[in-house]
């Protein structure tokens, strides 16, 4: 693979998948926090 394609792959996949996983982790933490409060 060329360098430009590799950089683009890292940037796009990093942003999209990283964004998804980041928001997912945040939602998991918020739900965990809410359950703690309810207990």
């Amino acid at each position: 693979m060329s360098t430009s394609a590799t950089i683009m792959m890292v940037l796009i996949c990093g942003f999209v998948w990283g964004g998804f996983l980041g928001f997912l982790m945040r939602a998991i933490r918020r739900e965990g926090g809410k359950q703690q409060v309810e207990k």
Partner: protein
């Protein structure tokens, strides 16, 4: 809202909405569009429009549903005012018209999944198999099967939708991840990644690449279709909107990327010489004719072919379920019981889906007419939010108690200015593109498939009828209470 008609957990809502968003368009359309529009450059534009089209509209849809607790017609009446109920009617009409032929597509996926298990695709050859199946009474029966499966789920209400989503969506993710891993580990797959991600900076100066990226986002996230609005009716009062919207938007596009990697690595590893022919074969050609041929040449291909069509079936069914629920919800708002509303949607889906089952040309024409119509739906959401007051909607609903993220004024600007401009530019471009492709005189012919004339004629009939029925629809939908 009764607790029976409510998502029990945040994950139930997120998975059901993700199931709505991830459909066949992610798997069969995205890889083809990215391959024909500059690869890495297209992906830059695609990410930009995720942020300035899909996510803002998803937030708006959640806000409409959560605030109004009504289907599309009732929500527009409550949010935008009594005179704008017809806009909600348009959103419902578009999504329901798509449902009629989408159940045919879901039926195709089911038939190919069964054919992959039985080994039928190897014996006859995928092209012969497709020719002997599509547009025949067999396709009608598979359409009926797909519709029945969706109807059964919606019959059991939100609990049914939540339970099915909790099983099908994680399974779909696992299947696509397995297929993507298999594809990237094939010898020669790196050429597929190179093709997918190599940036062509000149392409970024081509407005068609940007418009294709906007279209793809509008299609594969389901933003502006009214389906998120429908599921948002059943969110808990203190449920978050902004974090759920970005989670679903990024989750949907993550699945598209996986599908792009899976399809293009498979194409380049197995048959690189035919790549232009494969990506230019259209949605059905790529999925139902070329992919089985590629899997047949792959070690363990039959096994992966079964996985591929099972993933497509799951993606199609979870989207179809949301479309059935949207249509049924509007009928329930008019005072019908869930069972009666679902029964009417089932009968209408079976009857009005039949022409698409029996003719692929008819299906593609409907796809063209209502696909462009979705841009108008997105525009109506922006106009509806403006009528309510975008800043008021942001403060009172989007950033209300329970929000895990606070949305800034950027969202109001996008909703009030950017999205209406995007929707208008996109519609004009699509219609202009269709006019230059057709011979003079034919592009305005309402009976010519894929023409501007057929779009305008069907839209005009629908819009005149909806505006005429506006007061009646408003009265009807304000009768029944949500959750009844």
């Amino acid at each position: 809202l009764s607790t029976n008609e409510q998502f029990q957990t945040r994950w139930g809502l997120v998975l059901a909405t993700l199931g709505m968003a991830v459909g066949t368009g992610n798997i069969w359309r995205f890889p083809r569009i990215v391959a024909t529009n500059g690869g890495g450059s297209f992906l830059i534009a695609w990410v930009v429009f995720l942020l300035i089209w899909s996510v803002p509209l998803m937030i708006a849809e959640f806000a409409f549903g959560k605030r109004a607790r009504k289907g599309t017609v009732g929500a527009f009446v409550r949010i935008a005012g009594e005179k704008k109920g017809w806009m909600g009617g348009w959103v419902a009409l578009c999504a329901t018209a798509i449902m009629f032929y989408y159940s045919v597509v879901a039926g195709w996926c089911i038939r190919y999944f069964v054919a992959a298990i039985l080994g039928e695709l190897r014996g006859a050859g995928p092209e012969e198999f497709w020719e002997s199946y599509a547009g025949t009474t067999q396709a009608f029966w598979t359409h009926a099967v797909a519709l029945t499966l969706a109807i059964v789920v919606v019959w059991f209400g939100v609990r049914g939708i939540e339970r099915v989503a909790k099983v099908l969506i994680p399974s779909l993710v696992i299947l696509v991840v397995i297929l993507a891993i298999r594809a990237v580990t094939l010898p020669g797959a790196a050429a597929g990644l190179e093709f997918l991600f190599k940036p062509d900076l000149h392409a970024l100066g081509d407005f068609r690449v940007w418009l294709a990226a906007l279209t793809q986002n509008a299609w594969d996230t389901g933003a502006g279709w009214g389906l998120i609005l429908t599921y948002a009716i059943y969110m808990k009062a203190r449920e978050d909107i902004p974090l759920n919207a970005v989670l679903i938007g990024f989750g949907n596009n993550s699945m598209s990327l996986l599908a792009g990697i899976m399809v293009l690595c498979t194409v380049f590893a197995i048959n690189p010489g035919a790549r232009d022919q494969i990506v230019g074969a259209g949605n059905e050609g790529l999925t139902f004719i070329w992919m089985p041929q590629l899997f047949a040449q792959m070690p363990g291909g039959r096994f992966f072919m079964i996985f591929f069509f099972l993933a497509l079936t799951f993606a199609a069914l979870t989207s179809l379920i949301s479309m059935v629920e949207l249509a049924a919800r509007n009928l329930m708002d008019a005072g019908l019981s869930r069972k009666r509303a679902v029964g009417i949607v089932a009968a209408a889906g079976l009857v009005f889906g039949t022409p698409s089952a029996l003719s692929v040309t008819f299906l593609n024409n409907q796809d063209w007419v209502w696909g462009v119509g979705l841009m108008l739906s997105g525009l109506f959401f922006a106009l509806g939010a403006r009528s309510f007051g975008v800043e008021r909607l942001r403060r009172e609903v989007v950033n209300a108690e329970g929000a895990d993220l606070q949305v800034g004024r950027w969202w109001s600007f996008l909703m009030a200015v950017v999205i209406p401009v995007e929707a208008l530019v996109l519609m004009i471009w699509w219609l202009w593109g269709a006019s230059v492709d057709k011979p003079a005189g034919e592009w305005l012919d309402p009976f010519s498939a894929g023409s501007v004339g057929t779009v305008l004629a069907q839209w005009a009939i629908a819009l005149v009828a909806l505006v005429a029925l506006n007061r009646w629809m408003g009265r009807k939908t304000s009768k029944g209470e949500a959750g009844s």
